[in-house]
Symmetry: C2
Subunit: 418 residues, 2 copies
C-alpha cells in the first residue's frame, strides 16, 4: 500500500480524556476512532491488526478441532429466561421490543443461544463431541467503559463452546483449549499469567483466566520481586501471603483479563433440556465447556505491553504491515524507483508493505513511522544513496544496518524470516 492512497490519520497530540497508553496510541496511530464513549470504529490500520489476530485465533481453534460458525447479535429474551440469566445479566443487557412485540436483547455472550442451536441438532452420543466457535460482536451496557477498547459497550470476542458426552470428554476439550490459548497469546506477543479462577456468572466448577500484567487493567495478580513468581489473587493466594517459591513478600500488580475458559458441566444443558441418548439407552444432559477471548481488548493489551516513548512496537505476527519503506525525498527519481522495486519484491515474497510516499517532512515521516510501529523500516535517502546504500532499521532494537541498495530486498526477507 502507498500511504498517500491510504486512510491512516495519525496525530501528534495526546487525545484529551485518555489515561491508558494503549488508548492514546491506538487513537494517535489511526487504528481506531471513537464514535461515542465506549463505541469505536476500526480504521484500516486497526482492522489489519484485528484480521491478523483473528487469523491466529482461527488457526489455533481449527487445530483444536473447533469449527467456526456465526451466531446472531439479536436474541429472544425467552431463551435467556430458561437459565435465569436474563436476571443475572440484567444490568448490562441491552433490551428492546421489536415491531412484532417480541422481547429481544443484544447478545452480551452466547451460551444460551449455542445450547439452543446444538439441542436442535444433536440427539445421539454418536454426534458428540462437537466444538463450535465464532468471532463476533458482543454488547454489554457497562456504565464504566474504560481505557478505550479495553472495556467498551460494543466489542469483539472469540467465544468457543464444547459439547461432550461426559466429564472425561470435557476435560480433554478443556485441556486442548488451554493449550490453544497459550499458543494464541504467545503468537500475539503477550506474556500471559494463567490463574485458576472463580466461575462467576458463567457457572461451573473449574475455570482459568489468562491475564497480562500491565499498567492498567481491572484484574490483579501477585508477583514476587525476588524470584519472579507470578500468580492470581485467589482465595488461597492473597497479596499479604509470602511467595510459595522463596517466601519473600508478594507484590500486587494490575492486569488485563484476555481470556477465560470454563468447565460449565450441565448447567445450561439441564436448564435448556439439551439432552442426548447415550449408548446405555439413557437420556443425559450434554456436558459443556466455554472458552472466551476478548479480541478487541487483545489489541489494547498488545499495545499496552509493546510500546516506547515514540509509539507502538508491534510484535511481528500482529503488525499491520511487515515493512515500511520510507523514501525521504519523494521528488528524487532514484529514491522512488527503489521504493517501488522494494515494494514489489517484498510483496511478491508474501509480505505486507507500506510505502510512505507522502509529501511530508523527513521529521514527520520518521515520527509517524515510530508511532505506527511497523517492525522494519527501509529508509531511502539521497545522502546514503550517493554511496549506493540504504538503511534497514528495526523498530524494536533501533538497530540500523546499512546495506547496498541492490541487496535490500534479500537482506530484508532474511531478517523477516528469522
Amino acid at each position: 500500500m502507498y500511504w498517500s492512497k491510504c486512510f491512516i490519520p495519525t496525530a501528534k497530540e495526546v487525545p484529551v480524556g485518555t489515561e491508558a497508553v494503549s488508548h492514546q496510541l491506538s487513537l494517535r496511530a489511526g487504528l481506531v476512532n471513537m464514535l461515542t464513549s465506549g463505541v469505536y470504529s476500526y480504521l484500516p490500520l486497526g482492522l489489519r491488526v484485528l484480521r491478523r489476530i483473528e487469523n491466529i485465533i482461527r488457526q489455533e481453534m481449527n487445530n483444536a478441532q473447533a469449527q467456526e460458525l456465526f451466531l446472531p447479535c439479536l436474541q429472544p429474551i425467552e431463551v435467556w429466561q430458561k437459565t435465569g440469566r436474563d436476571k443475572v445479566m440484567e444490568d448490562i443487557m441491552i433490551r428492546f421490543e421489536d415491531n412484532r412485540g417480541r422481547k429481544m436483547c443484544l447478545g452480551p455472550t452466547h451460551e444460551e443461544i449455542i445450547t439452543e442451536l446444538v439441542r436442535n441438532y444433536v440427539q445421539s452420543y454418536r454426534q458428540l463431541p462437537v466444538t463450535l466457535y465464532q468471532i463476533q460482536t458482543k454488547f454489554r451496557d457497562e456504565i464504566r467503559t474504560r481505557f478505550g477498547i479495553v472495556r467498551a459497550l460494543e466489542f469483539i470476542m472469540k467465544d468457543a463452546y464444547s459439547f461432550d458426552r461426559d466429564e472425561e470428554g470435557l476435560k480433554k476439550n478443556y485441556d486442548r483449549m488451554y493449550e490453544a490459548y497459550k499458543n494464541i497469546f504467545k503468537r500475539c506477543g503477550v506474556d500471559v499469567v494463567i490463574v485458576a479462577a472463580d466461575s462467576g456468572a458463567m457457572g461451573g466448577d473449574v475455570s482459568h483466566e489468562f491475564l497480562v500484567p500491565a499498567l492498567i487493567g481491572e484484574d490483579e495478580i501477585v508477583k514476587c520481586p525476588s524470584c519472579g513468581f507470578e500468580g492470581g489473587v485467589t482465595e488461597s493466594q492473597k497479596k499479604d501471603d509470602p511467595c510459595p517459591e522463596c517466601q519473600q513478600q508478594l507484590e500486587g500488580h494490575v492486569a488485563i483479563e484476555l481470556g477465560h475458559i470454563f468447565q460449565l458441566g450441565t448447567k445450561y444443558s439441564q436448564a435448556q433440556e439439551a439432552l442426548f441418548l447415550d449408548d446405555d439407552g439413557k437420556q443425559k444432559p450434554i456436558v459443556m465447556g466455554c472458552y472466551g477471548i476478548g479480541v478487541s481488548r487483545l489489541i489494547a493489551a498488545i499495545i499496552e505491553t509493546n510500546n516506547d516513548a515514540s509509539g507502538i512496537v508491534w510484535p511481528r505476527q500482529v503488525a499491520p504491515f511487515d515493512v515500511e519503506i520510507l523514501p525521504i525525498q519523494i521528488g528524487d527519481e532514484e529514491s522512488m524507483q527503489l521504493a517501488k522495486e522494494y515494494y514489489q519484491g517484498l510483496t511478491d515474497a508474501g509480505y505486507e508493505v507500506l510505502v510512505d510516499d507522502r509529501d511530508e517532512t523527513a521529521g514527520r515521516k520518521f515520527n509517524d513511522a515510530d508511532l505506527i510501529g511497523i517492525p522494519y523500516r527501509i529508509v531511502i535517502g539521497k545522502r546514503a544513496l550517493k554511496e549506493g546504500n540504504v538503511e534497514i532499521k528495526s523498530r524494536k532494537t533501533s538497530e540500523i544496518i546499512m546495506v547496498k541498495k541492490e541487496d535490500a530486498v534479500v537482506k530484508m526477507t532474511g531478517l523477516l524470516a528469522e
Copy 2:
C-alpha cells in the same frame, strides 16, 4: 475436512412455513439455522460460502481503490438527527436508551456515521478522494421478514462510501464501483439486470440497482419473451410498454435486489458539515457516493438461481468446498486409503475438500451430496475399484467420468483449473 468431524446437519424434510426454494435449501443443507423469525445463525457450511463471497467482494473493492474499515453497530441518535433520517427511518430503526441515558440505535445503514468519521479527519482537497467500505451486520426491524435470509432483521451488508472534491471525481468513483459490481456478481455466478433506479430514502440524483430475476423477490423487472431484452420497471419503462428492441409486449418478472449504488452528492456532507478547503481557498461540502450489496441476501439469490430438484448447484467460486470425496464403503481399507490420498493431494493443490466418511447408507450419502451441491464429487466404490477405477461426477452437468484410481487427483485438478 472429514464430514464425521464436521457440524453439517442436513435434513430430508422441507421445513414447515417456508416458501422460497433458497430458504428451504439453505435450512436443509445445514447452511443456516433460524433462531427466531428474521434472525439466522450461519452454520459452518454457510459461513464458508459467506467467506468466499466476502473475499470476492474484498478483492473487487480493493481493486476499485476502496479501503476496508469496520464501523460500530451502536450509533447515537443525535448523529441521525443532523440529516433528519432518524424520522425517515423511524419505523425500521431499533432504538434504546443506554445505562447512561444516551439515545442510541442499531445501525440500519452507515451514511451518517461514515460522514461523521470522515469529517473529523478530512480538511483539505489534498486528502481527497477517499473511498471506504466495510462488511458488517445491519439491523432493520421489518415487520414482514420474508424468504429466510432474503429479508431478515439482522443481515450482512457490504457498504462503501466515496468522498470526492467534485462531481467529476464522484462520477469516476461511481463508474469504478459500477464495474466492480458487475465483476462481483459475475464471479458469484449470478446474472444481474442493471436498472437506473429511484434514490428513495438515500437521496441524490443518479442511482442504479443490480437485480437478479428469480421465482421470489420484492422488486420487478420487465423481460421480452421474444428478443430477450431485460430492463427495470421505471417511470419511462412500464410493463405495458412494448419492448424497445423488437416492439413485442414485455412481461413482468419478480427479482431480488442485490446491490444499489447512489450518487449522493452533498446531501449528507451539507447536513453534517463535512467540509473541505479546496485549492481555490473556499470551503465546500464533500461530494459523496454510496454503494451497497446485500451479502447474506446474495447467498439466497445464488441458491435461488442455482438449484435443481435434488438440491443446490453451487457456482465454483462460492461453493463451500471444491470437491467432495465419497467413499461408499467406509469399512473398506483401500477405499479409505484412496479417500485420504485424494484429500491430501487436492488439499496440497490448494483446494477445499470434504470427505464424507460418515457411517451412512450410500443412498443417504448421494442424496446429501446432491443437496449440499459441491461442484465435483469423487465416488470411490468397491465395484469400480475392482477394475481399478473411481468416478468423477459434475454436480452441474451430472456427467460422470470413469478414471484410473491413480489418475484421480490429476484429472480432478485439471477439471478444477478449467
